[in-house]
Symmetry: C2
Subunit: 129 residues, 2 copies
């Protein structure tokens, strides 16, 4: 278990993910919450929330780390076999990432044990067209 104590920093951070359905950059979180808590704290809490499978993360276009709320799309136990995942879409022009409202099935092709899977689709979003 990653999270042990309920602190105000934790609550503040969690709120950001309730307000927003799309994914958020750590950099963005730091600039939004940087005056309320230290950036190290933000990084550490995000780490723990991912350990607990409350959030999941991936790296977008420029190597920036993105976090999104996790709802069954990944599993903390590496032994489990996942077979579904949700694609994210990143606009290469404005950089924004949203989760698409589809559930995809993972191909049953690997002998490997799968714990996370992420499909990042990149292109140009509607508003940038």
């Amino acid at each position: 278990m990653g999270i042990h104590r309920k602190t105000s920093s934790l609550n503040t951070l969690l709120k950001e993910f309730n307000n927003d359905i799309s994914a958020i950059t750590v950099v963005d979180l730091v600039s939004r919450l940087g005056d309320k808590m230290n950036k190290t704290t933000i990084y550490r809490i995000l780490n723990k929330l991912e350990e607990d499978s409350i959030l999941h993360s991936f790296f977008g276009k420029n190597g920036l780390k993105w976090y999104a709320k996790c709802d069954g799309c990944c599993n903390s136990k590496p032994e489990s076999i996942l077979n579904k995942f949700r694609p994210h879409f990143q606009c290469l022009s404005c950089g924004k990432i949203d989760r698409l409202n589809i559930e995809m099935k993972l191909p049953k092709v690997t002998d490997q044990k799968v714990s996370v899977s992420q499909l990042l689709i990149q292109g140009r979003c509607e508003s940038c067209n």
Copy 2:
């Protein structure tokens, strides 16, 4: 067009991708070729090769940039609609990334124009089990 001139640095770099079917980290390339050419050169050539759709890149587990040979899985023209992609598998234990030998179809769900798509499946590979 990214690449304009045939230089020995370019050839040396391209050889690395002929020798290896799996994806390679830039960091790895720098440590392999760092005595033959400057790391800046490596970064710049990789950039150009991606512009020309000869290589494509994505970010793995620790935010490291990976490159792999591109064969129709991405397109330099952002206007085109892609409908297939190839998943990569990264072992969370040893970090290695290989391309899986399947071709997947992209869900026809977005109004957006798609230029790149990458599915990164993560778990434990056979040799780490």
